[in-house]
Point group: C2
Chain length 608, copies 2
């Protein structure tokens, strides 16, 4: 069914929670006018609603196919991709010197969200190209950048990330793909890579693979892995295409979801091309330091996957709301003349509120983290930059882990709202459920995110960033209580003491667990990591509660000032629901973390 970009909520989050007004005015951003912001959001929404979203369901039924080494994407993808890149959307946040728009991450984030809401399978191609561009900008030579980045930005070519091998999934130290120096600055690569998203396709003239591999003299482990750029077709100095390189798509995976996104097994050095045996590539960055470069990009990719979670949740919610309004079934529980639309039934209402609250809270959490990225990169004050950088890095595993686990729940509730129809593929609700399931897995499973949150983001700085955030949450809490309920029509609504109560509990839960992680990670690493995913989820729930509480305060103040926009009462009601119905989950997680970690580890493996 149709997708409508949720621009009202997006604008609220951008402006009221994530600081777009300040981001617009940061140096290097050309003081983006509000009209530009509006034009970007509206043009982007129009394109995705009209050209991409309508393809999503049919593409699931007609996934990409492989024949004779050639991958044909789903019907309509090629034309839609042309429209997308021609509109300049691939370059939205990339530097103007390479043909991009140079817009802040905060403004690019809703565009990424809407792209993925329109079609997760389609959105993955630009997402991976973003990653390749980031790699080149971060670690490429000037020549590499000049030759490749403009073509990636304008969509003539696309990019991929080649990390995984059968024995090297979460553990990239096990990468075995070999890179043999040719003495002329080039390398020949030999090996097999799996799970390569858009590793082969027909959307663009060339595909630029970023590939982790080992040099012959490489030390064992993660510090012996280098990063190479391997184009499908070699690129001449003038940017024209040369010989077909020795990288080949051996098969496409048969997946649970995102079926229209071709997931390739790629063979390097199968001696099928025009270049002899071994795929020709060039080194990116320093020898043996490839993983560091890849991790810079992976932070951006992890954030983007979190935004994919928000996106698929929004799409599933819109579909469930439309169905619930339309489907008439059973009388009202309080009595009614005849059957009513199921949106009237309290349990359906609970389902829709759950979808709405989780989606909106996750959106706010993600966008606030995006705003911090811009402050970290563009603010004139080094101290502000450093603080925002630390906050952004702390938020990345939370955004990725929480928003994707949330998406699993929201899309499942979406199926449930449809009843039996939800289980029938024609309806589309099941597709969202299937598509969403990869998000908590790829770019690092939730457990990998949780390890990052525990180790690098909480324990390493002795909880400094986390405690700074907790202090900010307490300020929000106090502000909820400090302003008296006003006497406007919504006086009852405007008393936020209930939200303050739930938020206070959530903050205390978070603080107790931060203290535990800081105190015990070294002494009891297994126990702390047994509670790492609960700690991540608890953090997500409380961050969501914080942002929803901030939103509630904004709504109250606006309403007190006489603003009668229905959106405000809806937002306030959603914040309230989040705090009373969702946020209490944090307390259950706190118990599991603090009192139950040893119980996780009590069995011997052979007792299972």
């Amino acid at each position: 069914m149709a997708f409508v970009a949720p621009l009202r909520d997006i604008r609220f989050v951008l402006n009221e929670l994530a600081g777009l007004d300040k981001v617009r005015q940061l140096p290097g951003g050309d003081d983006i006018a509000p009209e530009i912001v509006d034009a970007v959001l509206e043009e982007n929404a129009r394109l995705l609603q009209d050209a991409v979203a309508p393809l999503n369901h049919a593409a699931d039924r007609q996934p990409a196919t492989l024949a004779d080494g050639v991958v044909t994407t789903s019907p309509g993808f090629k034309a839609a991709f042309r429209e997308f890149v021609t509109g300049g959307w691939q370059g939205l946040s990339h530097p103007t010197e390479f043909g991009g728009q140079g817009l802040p991450k905060l403004l690019a984030t809703p565009c990424v969200e809407n792209l993925n809401a329109a079609s997760l399978s389609f959105g993955l191609c630009p997402l991976l190209t973003d990653g390749a561009i980031e790699v080149l900008l971060t670690a490429g030579t000037p020549a590499q950048r000049a030759l490749y980045v403009p073509k990636l930005v304008d969509g003539t070519w696309t990019g991929t990330m080649n990390l995984t091998e059968p024995q090297a999934g979460s553990d990239l130290s096990q990468v075995r793909t070999r890179a043999v120096p040719q003495g002329d600055g080039t390398y020949r690569l030999f090996g097999q890579k799996i799970y390569i998203t858009y590793g082969e396709h027909d959307l663009a003239e060339n595909i630029v693979h970023m590939v982790l591999a080992r040099l012959p003299d490489a030390p064992e482990g993660v510090k012996g892995i280098s990063l190479f750029m391997v184009p499908k077709f070699l690129v001449n100095d003038d940017g024209s295409l040369g010989a077909r390189n020795d990288v080949w798509c051996a098969s496409l995976e048969h997946k649970l979801g995102i079926k229209a996104s071709p997931t390739a097994v790629l063979l390097y050095g199968d001696n099928q091309g025009d270049v002899g045996a071994g795929a020709l590539g060039t080194l990116i960055g320093t020898e043996h330091r490839g993983l560091e470069t890849m991790f810079i990009m992976m932070n951006a990719a992890r954030f983007a996957v979190g935004v994919q979670g928000v996106a698929i949740a929004e799409r599933a919610m819109q579909q469930a709301v439309a169905y619930a309004r339309d489907r008439v079934q059973s009388r009202a529980v309080e009595g009614s003349a005849g059957p009513v639309a199921i949106v009237h039934h309290p349990d359906v209402r609970r389902n829709l509120m759950t979808m709405r609250a989780l989606t909106q809270a996750s959106r706010a959490v993600a966008y606030v983290a995006a705003g911090a990225f811009d402050f970290a990169h563009r603010h004139p004050d080094a101290d502000v930059r450093q603080k925002n950088q630390a906050f952004h890095e702390y938020m990345v595993p939370i955004v990725k882990g929480f928003a994707t686990e949330m998406a699993n729940e929201v899309t499942s509730v979406g199926v449930q709202v449809h009843g039996g129809m939800g289980f029938i593929e024609e309806t589309g609700a099941a597709q969202h459920y299937r598509d969403a399931r990869i998000l908590a897995i790829y770019e690092g499973t939730t457990a990998i995110q949780a390890n990052d949150l525990v180790g690098r983001k909480t324990a390493r700085d002795q909880g400094a960033v986390a405690r700074g955030v907790i202090a900010a949450m307490r300020e929000t809490h106090d502000a909820l209580l400090s302003t008296p309920a006003t006497s406007v029509a919504g006086a009852g609504l405007a008393d936020l003491s209930d939200i303050a109560h739930f938020l206070a509990t959530g903050i205390a839960d978070l603080e107790a667990c931060v203290d535990y992680v800081v105190a015990q990670t070294k002494a009891q690493p297994r126990e702390v990591h047994a509670g790492s995913v609960p700690y991540l989820m608890l953090s997500g729930y409380v961050h969501g509660g914080w942002q929803m509480a901030r939103a509630a305060a904004v709504c109250r103040d606006r309403m007190a000032a006489g603003d009668l926009e229905p959106f405000l009462t809806g937002k306030l009601a959603t914040a309230r629901f989040y705090c009373s119905n969702i946020l209490p989950r944090a307390s259950a997680l706190r118990t599991a973390i603090l009192d139950g970690s040893a119980d996780v580890l009590a069995l011997d493996p052979d007792q299972f």
Copy 2:
């Protein structure tokens, strides 16, 4: 991958928690010897492990197909079904006078569980036939019973339930299929039924459809619906098959899961058969009272679907455990010489413990309810019968709702344990995730179960049954504390005060919500029903905690008596994990129910 029936846990639950020893000796059960119990469990397990489980994954890839009105089931299903019915398994719990074994429900329950663990898609056919047999035993005439039941019991024929129509899903009052009396005791049916599981197939010679329809003079609503038996082929008085009836499979649904189970759209009265226009059928029971008969059967079916939840969770868990033991990836968090099997990683351990604890707790909850059914039907004391009947009826929505929602979680965790492999269909984990998703929908969604639990099972008797259960839970709690920790090797394990603490909290949560439901259902029906699914889930978590606590006490006592079986320490550790890591969710649900119900309903439908 291979499935092994979890007989050790099944025996523990049957004997220690569900009272098999007493059930064995109930009148009418021929004082079943323990050797018979063993033979049933072992023979059943062998058949399902060897003949059914191996078909499950391939059947998902080659679902039932429809061509020219004929449905061909997945490869191997026909032979496996013959083996299943030839072994007498269809008749396990049906009366001996019709060729069944007459075994108690408690002993049939593990067989149903293992059947569905072997293959949910395959297991649905016998499940539906059980329903048809129940209908005939409950409401059929002696002639109908004599003619049909033996052929259903021996698997010559199978049965279906025809309830749903496009406009009549959860709300059966909207059924429009017409039944026209022919003046000779027969009726001709006209209409369309959807979601008919095994509505057409090639496993048996005939299919006996139980169909809800309206007589011409029927009053509006649920009290105007009658139940008819419509065979695919008419049945002559000697049991031989006659003319092809006018009921036809128009299409099969393209579903998210259980793909090997043909879900048919059936047309009645399409004038394609040998009998003229209108499918010929006979009335079952009384005119206009068909829904009451159907509900008797639906109670059994709902219980069976809950057991399907336990089954698919067990299957997913076995697959995840095997993968976690086999897959080597990353070093241990506490340090290790090289990469270790992922079962060693604390988060994987948490995932496996979550799967294990939810599965075993749900199994215990379901089996205890099955035992009550047998006491309700066979105990010589009317008071005991009545109490057990009330308890069983109270448990049915909890078993159905909780065990199926639990199955969604467990199968999702199963995917997660597999990482990227979990998203690839070849692995099989994704199939369990897809297959499980129907369970919380069919035979009444979780919301329908929750309405039943709130209205008929809690509010109607002013919480009498629920409070009786709470009193029994308190006895368990006290017993956990009353026996001092023993001095055997497992002394630390044997101190159950932690389990008692968590159980006490859970009991208090349940009691508070029972009080609320009893007090407020009439006064605030919308608010109470807004919390109905949380109330059902809270009930499920606390019932699971109760049974796990009972199990822990048994293990402690056994260990104190010198029993060193490793199963006992494993069970005790699982009970402990359940109480510290899972049971606290009840408190979060309590908050949502008691403090958050009004927030569920705050938005107008047009504000979504």
